[in-house]
């Protein structure tokens, strides 16, 4: 188990970065008792056969070790907290990973520090990769798009530490993760 769902997000999005995606989208939304996390990319995708065994820990294309833990962990955490896990993918088109969690389930890991996750991901983007982050909870909406930020910053790079720290604070200030005793 990872201690925070935002650590799962950090991990799963790494797959999209490695898949050579041009556009990566992270959506976190809370409605009623459901917390939903969607990670979508337009990277290399997976074929049907590979996809059918991708939530088995022994499925990995990594070379440094024989097990890939990212997707199996997320699936287990979603199912253990009364939620659902779903992955769709097509070669050359991309991949979408959806997971839901019951907010009041005691086995649900907290969302945790999502702003740190987002800036860690932004720092890791390759040239030409863009990330969109959408957050919706308790009637409040926030979204961030790296292509827009890069345009405003040019020629300063988005992965400059000063910029990343600023973006982290900006995300923190603009999202609501706790309301009326309910904490995501």
């Amino acid at each position: 188990m990872l201690r925070e769902l935002s650590l799962n997000i950090l991990d799963i999005v790494e797959n999209s970065v490695k898949a050579g995606a041009k556009n990566i989208r992270i959506e976190v939304s809370a409605k009623g008792n459901d917390l939903k996390i969607v990670i979508a990319d337009d990277g290399c995708g997976m074929d049907e056969e590979f996809l059918s065994r991708v939530t088995d820990p022994f499925t990995t294309t990594r070379t440094t070790r024989k097990v890939g833990m990212g997707l199996p962990l997320l699936k287990m955490e979603a199912e253990m907290s009364g939620g659902m896990f779903d992955i769709t993918s097509a070669p050359g088109k991309g991949t979408t990973v959806k997971s839901t969690f019951k907010i009041d389930n005691i086995d649900r890991p907290p969302l945790g520090d999502i702003s740190s996750t987002i800036i860690s991901l932004i720092a890791d983007l390759n040239e030409g990769q863009e990330l969109v982050f959408k957050f919706e909870a308790f009637g409040n909406e926030f979204s961030l798009d790296t292509s827009q930020i890069k345009r405003e910053l040019d020629p300063v790079r988005i992965d400059e530490p000063t910029v990343l720290v600023y973006l982290k604070d900006m995300i923190k200030e603009n999202i609501i993760t706790e309301n009326g005793g309910v904490s995501l």
Binding site: L7, R65, A123, I149, L153, V156
Partner: protein
Amino acid sequence: MKSIADIKAIRDKMQSQIIMRDNNTSDEIRVVVGMATCGISAGARPVFNTLIDEVAKRNLSNVKVSRTGCLGMCKLEPIVEVFVPNQEKVTYCKVDAEKARNIIANHIVNGNVCTEYLISGKEL
């Protein structure tokens, strides 16, 4: 409240530094954090964020902090690698936020490798 509208102000503030640095890329120091599932579950994210915070706070314009995947030594994560031009790579293991602050202060700023955080033979 911080917003996208302020991004241009940051750009204006940083632009001159960046130009100076780009004429001088040969002295760029790279700090790399292992952040695959193994690193993340061992605490790599706070390490990464501490490194970014320290570099920004100290205005170290020649330091680049980035992420890498699994370095093949999962038990020793979080792992931080430091690349100083013309020097051998230094690999720190089991790094936490405090060690990360010390790596910046001692190694990056003052040039003294934090030998106590290096991989020792018995851990391998």
